[in-house]
């Protein structure tokens, strides 16, 4: 129930710069997902927002009010930890009651109100039958609910979730996704959810923040990030299988824009052509979705890329192949299954119309103007 403004945030551990001058704006009641590979600084960012860690420079504002010098409790944040971090010496009810009994909350709630609140949260999370169990009598999914309940019981202004469903099995993880959204809709708490699972992030986020090496590559609604990535990293990070990045040189052949890769030319048509025309002769990165590639028969003419099979697997009736095309990784996804072994030579067609172009040096998206 609060707007969060982060500006110029910097943090380093010793000589390692975690991030340098980070900015982020989160509107009230937004469900934010921080997505990025391990070590990108997403957990550190969340710990700084919570107040468990402090930044070296920059500031964090809740509703325009600087919270840098406030403790976690004064900031009124709730946090669910990756390993749940429940109090093992208390029952489920004891765990839920613990935040309400904090000395700084003394006198804020009567015993009756506490009971009412515990009942309400237990109902919401469907853990009422578990209230009198001890923590080690719970399954992982149940512990996760209790941990979530504990973070919500004070109705905090900001809810921080650090990889809350990572340890659950796939089926439960899927179920918890919609649960989390349902709870968010009821509680209307501004929520920041850290994850490295792109499906989870894409499915849940109102605002998807992609982090890499301490920088925010893109912060936008999930579908926008997916469909319109701002950098080549974002383009290659999302998608299952992820988009392939090819280093190309933009040019022109008899008036038509092309991308040259290993001496082969890919025609760039439509919008992509306009983008290429705006930056002729440039080194660029062409991001292509897996469906843009089709494997060619043995010596079928016209096939453009020549690669070696590095890995292959079957997923839900379709075949995925990872090709090494002179040092560049190409992901192939096809429902036409063919027999391959690692090390095989494979030629593929590439269809560039669904591609995106990024600047070679910076990885930033190229546009027509």
């Amino acid at each position: 129930m609060v707007d969060i403004t982060i500006s110029g945030l910097s943090k380093s551990f010793g000589r390692v710069n975690v991030f340098d001058g980070l900015d982020l704006e989160v509107k009230d009641r937004t469900y934010v997902c921080l997505l990025g590979p391990s070590g990108c600084g997403k957990s550190t960012l969340m710990r700084i927002i919570s107040g468990l860690d402090s930044a070296d420079r920059g500031e964090i504002r809740f509703d325009g009010k600087n919270v840098d010098n406030l403790t976690c409790a004064q900031r009124d944040v709730g946090m669910a930890f990756q390993n749940y971090a429940l109090y093992p010496h208390l029952t489920v009810e004891g765990n839920l009651r613990f935040p309400l009994q904090a000395p700084m909350q003394k006198g804020r709630w009567t015993q009756q109100e506490m009971r009412a609140r515990i009942g309400e949260i237990a109902d919401l999370l469907q853990i009422t039958p578990l209230l009198h169990r001890t923590i080690n009598q719970l399954s992982g999914g149940q512990q996760q609910r209790v941990s979530l309940g504990r973070s919500l019981i004070r109705h905090p202004k900001v809810l921080l979730l650090d990889e809350p469903v990572t340890h659950l099995d796939a089926r439960l993880r899927y179920a918890m996704r919609s649960e989390l959204k349902r709870i968010h809709n009821v509680m209307e708490t501004t929520t920041i959810h850290v994850t490295h699972d792109q499906q989870e992030a894409l499915a849940m986020a109102d605002l998807l923040v992609i982090m890499r090496e301490g920088r925010i590559d893109q912060a936008a609604p999930a579908m926008e990030v997916y469909g319109d990535p701002a950098t080549s990293f974002v383009a290659s990070f999302l998608g299952d299988p992820p988009r392939s990045l090819l280093e190309v040189e933009l040019g022109e052949t008899s008036g038509a824009p092309v991308a040259r890769i290993n001496g082969v030319e890919l025609k760039l048509s439509g919008k992509l052509g306009a983008v290429a025309n705006a930056a002729p002769g440039r080194n660029a990165i062409l991001a292509l979705p897996a469906r843009a590639f089709t494997a060619a028969q043995a010596d079928e003419p016209g096939a453009v890329l020549d690669g070696t099979v590095r890995a292959h697997e079957m997923i839900e009736g379709a075949q995925r192949i990872v090709l090494d095309v002179s040092g560049q990784k190409v992901n192939l996804h096809s429902s036409a299954i063919r027999h391959v072994v690692i090390g095989d030579r494979l030629r593929v067609f590439a269809e560039a119309s669904d591609g995106m172009l990024f600047e070679g040096a910076t990885g930033l998206r190229l546009s027509a103007n």
Binding site: S50, G51, L52, T71, C72, A73, V77, G78, M79, F81, Q82, N83, Y84, A85, L86, Y87, P88, H89, F98, P99, A102, P103, M104, Q105, Q126, I135, N136, Q137, L138, S139, G140, G141, Q142, Q143, R150, S151, R154, H167, D169, R171, L172, A175, M176
Partner: protein, 293 residues
């Protein structure tokens, strides 16, 4: 609602209730029996002698079956030395209880501080704390005696309480440290988020989680304080003398009164045994198990 439940019964496989013992099992039991017998035999002598009459005590060959008499306990408690064993028993109880309480209380705070806060030279401090136990106590007796005398604490409870506390502190710190290190830091961070201060976290989260450690160190500290003789005999004569000092006093110029001596010995074992048995029941292992995945 989704939940994962294990069917505990499904995995149980039928097992024959007959356990077949092999030769090596017998050998192992034999070794165990011999060892236990060897350890407990002195205690048997103490107990049986304390229940024998004087003629039975000195009978040769030893009498295995004898008429039980409580005379030795009576004289130990009420007759022997005029005052009997009671004041010394009380001294021992006071000194053991307070020094154990202090050692475990202070020691757990030290261990917590050193594991949870960044302290300059933290690991060196741990080593330094243990190093106070490297030298044999007899090497310290004279300097400590001088300190205690200058402080005017000779023959006081306080003197022994302070000395025993400092002796047991290192033990407590070392053992409890491992227990604190095993607590996932996130549990305490969760309490921090919930609005608890460091001291409150220590009391309400950390201490309950290291309960097995607290119990273990309490038992060890109590046994060490209860049985300590060397320092007690140097620092105290009368008012604050503990049971071991009193026991040693039996071998006076008048010859040894074996019966009452053994009766006091048997009584000296009892309190610490009860203490250990009671506390041991609360030693729940693996309390933190399942809290964190």
């Amino acid at each position: 609602m989704t939940s994962v439940d294990f069917d505990a019964g499904a995995e149980a496989t039928p097992r024959s209730s007959k356990v077949v013992l092999g030769f090596s099992d017998y050998a192992r039991y034999l070794i165990a029996v011999v060892f236990v017998g060897f350890s407990l035999f002195p205690f048997y002598i103490v107990l049986s002698t304390s229940l024998k009459s004087e003629s039975d005590i000195f009978a040769w060959p030893p009498v295995w079956l004898f008429d039980v008499t409580w005379d030795n306990y009576f004289s130990a408690l009420f007759v022997f030395g005029g005052t009997g064993v009671l004041p010394f028993l009380i001294n021992s109880l006071i000194i053991t209880a307070l020094s154990t309480l202090l050692a475990v209380g202070l020691g757990s705070m030290v261990a917590y501080g050193l594991t949870r806060f960044r302290v300059v030279g933290g690991s060196h401090i741990f080593f330094f704390i243990l190093s106070t136990r490297f030298a044999p106590p007899v090497a310290f007796v004279v300097p400590i005696f001088l300190m205690i005398r200058e402080a005017g604490l000779l023959d006081t409870h306080l003197a022994l309480i302070l000395i025993y506390t400092s002796m047991n502190l290192s033990l407590v710190v070392w053992i409890i440290r491992g227990f604190f290190e095993a607590i996932p830091i996130e549990i305490e961070e969760a309490a921090q988020i919930d609005g608890y201060s460091r001291l409150q976290i220590f009391r309400k989260v950390a201490l309950p989680l290291v309960k097995p450690g607290l119990i273990t160190t309490s038992i060890l500290s109590a046994i060490l304080s209860w049985n300590e003789f060397l320092i007690a005999t140097v620092m105290t004569q009368n008012t604050a003398a503990t049971l071991p000092v009193y026991l040693a006093g039996f071998s006076g110029s008048m010859g040894l009164e074996w019966g009452p001596f053994m009766a006091v010995g048997a009584m000296a074992v009892l309190p610490i045994m009860i203490f250990t048995l009671v506390l041991q029941r609360h030693l729940v292992r693996g309390l933190t198990f399942g809290a964190v995945r």
